[in-house]
């Protein structure tokens, strides 16, 4: 078959909503786009362990400590499925890891913001995981089979995390005045960074067009952002907190809220590496990796000696 014929089969599968599987022919751009998207997603899970891990030893109740520890572990698990899904596209885990550690690969910018108080842990679960789910629900139906299946599993766990985050914020919002102030402060700091998670506005999103065509994405950044705001404002009101946006206003005609755009200069700056935690996050990953080198070497050396022992 020539390339044109392969392409025809590929397009037909997309048209029928069939999955593309690892051994199927796929256009090189499709493969590249997916490797970038899936590996970035995996890196985000792994780096995402750090801001929340920051509070495990300080969680204020035994139950909160168990919930947080389990949540951070789930994120590591998500990283693992996603690395495996990316490997099925022909890139090795070492290559991906190396790209992360050298700063070549990107991960979700949200994790370059610091977790300053305990309320940030609730806010991350409620807002950041809430925004992530909105993106990820759509990805459960993405055209690449292994990615889609990984997302089905991840979405179940993320919804659970989001409920836990909301529950944690609820305790604060209905707790002592100091707790409520802590919750409002967290909302003030996380609101706009969370809106940035949906990516640049559609008018400036360079990767969206192909992604939609290939069914790697199924809705635009702005559509998802609007849906998130509509859903979250009601929760903020229930909690008796205030969205930190004086332009937020219900728009009857579009049956949705009008709201201010996040500061896209800040967004670009954090992506460039200038967030307050960018250097620390990368340094933490590098430290764990380099301090673990002797452990991995010992396991490998021991593994190599085993068959000799058995043979002897």
């Amino acid at each position: 078959m020539d390339t044109a014929k392969f392409e025809e089969v590929f397009e037909a599968k997309l048209a029928k909503n069939d999955f593309i599987e690892p051994k199927d022919w796929m256009p090189e751009n499709y493969r590249k786009h997916l490797i970038r998207q899936v590996s970035q997603h995996a890196h985000s899970e792994i780096v995402g362990m750090l801001p929340e891990g920051n509070w495990i030893t300080r969680a204020p109740s035994l139950r909160a400590k168990l919930v947080l520890l389990a949540k951070v572990q789930d994120e590591g698990g998500h990283g693992l499925y996603l690395y495996t899904a990316a490997e099925s596209l022909g890139i090795s885990r070492d290559e991906m890891l190396n790209a992360l550690l050298t700063g070549k690969a990107k991960y979700s910018s949200i994790f370059n913001y610091p977790t300053l108080t305990w309320a940030d842990i609730g806010a991350i679960g409620w807002l950041v995981d809430g925004a992530a789910i909105m993106n990820q629900v759509m990805l459960q139906r993405s055209s690449y089979g292994p990615y889609s299946r990984a997302m089905v599993r991840i979405c179940k766990e993320e919804s659970f995390h989001q409920r836990q985050g909301y529950e944690s914020i609820t305790h604060l919002a209905f707790g002592t005045p100091e707790q409520k102030a802590m919750a409002q402060d967290a909302l003030n700091r996380w609101w706009f960074p969370t809106l940035m998670m949906f990516g640049p506005p559609d008018r400036e999103s360079p990767n969206s067009e192909n992604a939609l065509k290939w069914r790697i994405k199924r809705e635009t950044n702005d559509q998802l952002r609007q849906r998130f705001v509509n859903q979250t404002v009601k929760q903020v009101e229930y909690l008796g907190l205030t969205v930190p946006d004086k332009h937020l206003k219900w728009n009857e005609a579009k049956q949705g809220y009008d709201f201010s755009e996040p500061d896209w200069d800040e967004f670009k700056n954090v992506i460039k590496g200038n967030g307050i935690c960018n250097k620390e996050r990368l340094a933490s990953r590098n430290k764990a990796h380099s301090e673990g080198a002797w452990v991995r070497a010992a396991a490998e050396a021991y593994g190599k000696k085993q068959p000799e022992k058995e043979a002897a």
Binding site: L66, S168, E178, W294
Partner: protein, 252 residues
């Protein structure tokens, strides 16, 4: 000391040991030597934290003074904690964390297997659930000790160093007090003297496989049964208790 007080002290000792160990292990989360190992160690921390929570809940109930498990965890001072000294020791490198874990897993498997036969049905229930978990933990830590002892020169030397730091804290695991005496008579507590030779045999075998020599005599530290600790505990509690102490009336 009446038997209710003894049961409270005993359960608190077990709960504190689990909680402080879990606190230490969870420091590794997100910083493990590779992803699979990070997940495994976090899983172990979760099991041990879950056990600590159950034990402290039971201790609170035995005490019957209206304190909750969280009150016990977050509102007691250094001198009121009774965890074994070995669990509060710093994580150090992965050899030290794993050797500490191997010493404890070996002890815990023997201990909780016996405690599962306790006349106290709550302790017996917690113990029976724990035995399944500890069986896996022990397989994990023991296999790392063998890898380190037989891996590279560096891993063997790190393991030896870890041993030199930790061995002095193992003797205390078997120390018994009036609390134990009272509860052994009632078939509630485990006679630690009977576990000691079994623990020594298994650990000697493991260390022999890992090429670590056990010195003929070592001075063994003790103190935790009286709430006397190493300097580490104060920092662990300062970090762990900060929020509840700042907001004493808050619910989380």
């Amino acid at each position: 000391m009446n038997s209710n007080e003894a049961l409270f002290n005993y359960t608190l000792r077990l709960g504190d040991t689990s909680l402080i160990l879990a606190q230490r292990l969870s420091e590794w989360t997100g910083h493990g030597p590779f992803l699979e190992e990070d997940l495994a160690l976090t899983n172990i921390a979760l099991d041990i934290l879950g056990r600590g929570k159950s034990l402290l809940e039971y201790a609170a109930q035995i005490e019957g003074k209206g304190r909750s498990a969280d009150d016990l965890a977050f509102f007691r001072n250094e001198r009121e904690y009774f965890n074994a000294l070995i669990v509060e020791q710093s994580n150090g490198d992965y050899a030290k964390t794993m050797l500490r874990q191997a010493f404890i897993d070996c002890f815990d498997l023997l201990f909780y297997t016996e405690l599962a036969k306790s006349k106290d049905s709550v302790l017996a229930g917690i113990a029976a659930k724990s035995v399944k978990e500890i069986t896996y933990h022990k397989r994990h830590s023991f296999s790392w000790i063998k890898r380190f002892g037989n891996g590279t020169e560096e891993s063997a030397s790190r393991l030896q160093h870890a041993f030199d730091e930790l061995w002095q804290f193992t003797g205390e695991l078997f120390e018994m007090t009036e609390t134990d005496t009272i509860l052994i008579k009632e078939n509630i507590a485990v006679d630690l003297a009977t576990l000691k030779p079994m623990w020594e045999k298994e650990i000697q075998e493991l260390l022999r496989e890992a090429h670590i020599n056990i010195p003929e005599t070592t001075f063994m530290q003790k103190g935790s049964r009286q709430g006397l600790h190493t300097e580490y505990l104060g920092f662990i509690l300062a970090e762990m208790q900060t929020l509840p102490r700042m907001h004493p009336t808050a619910k989380w």
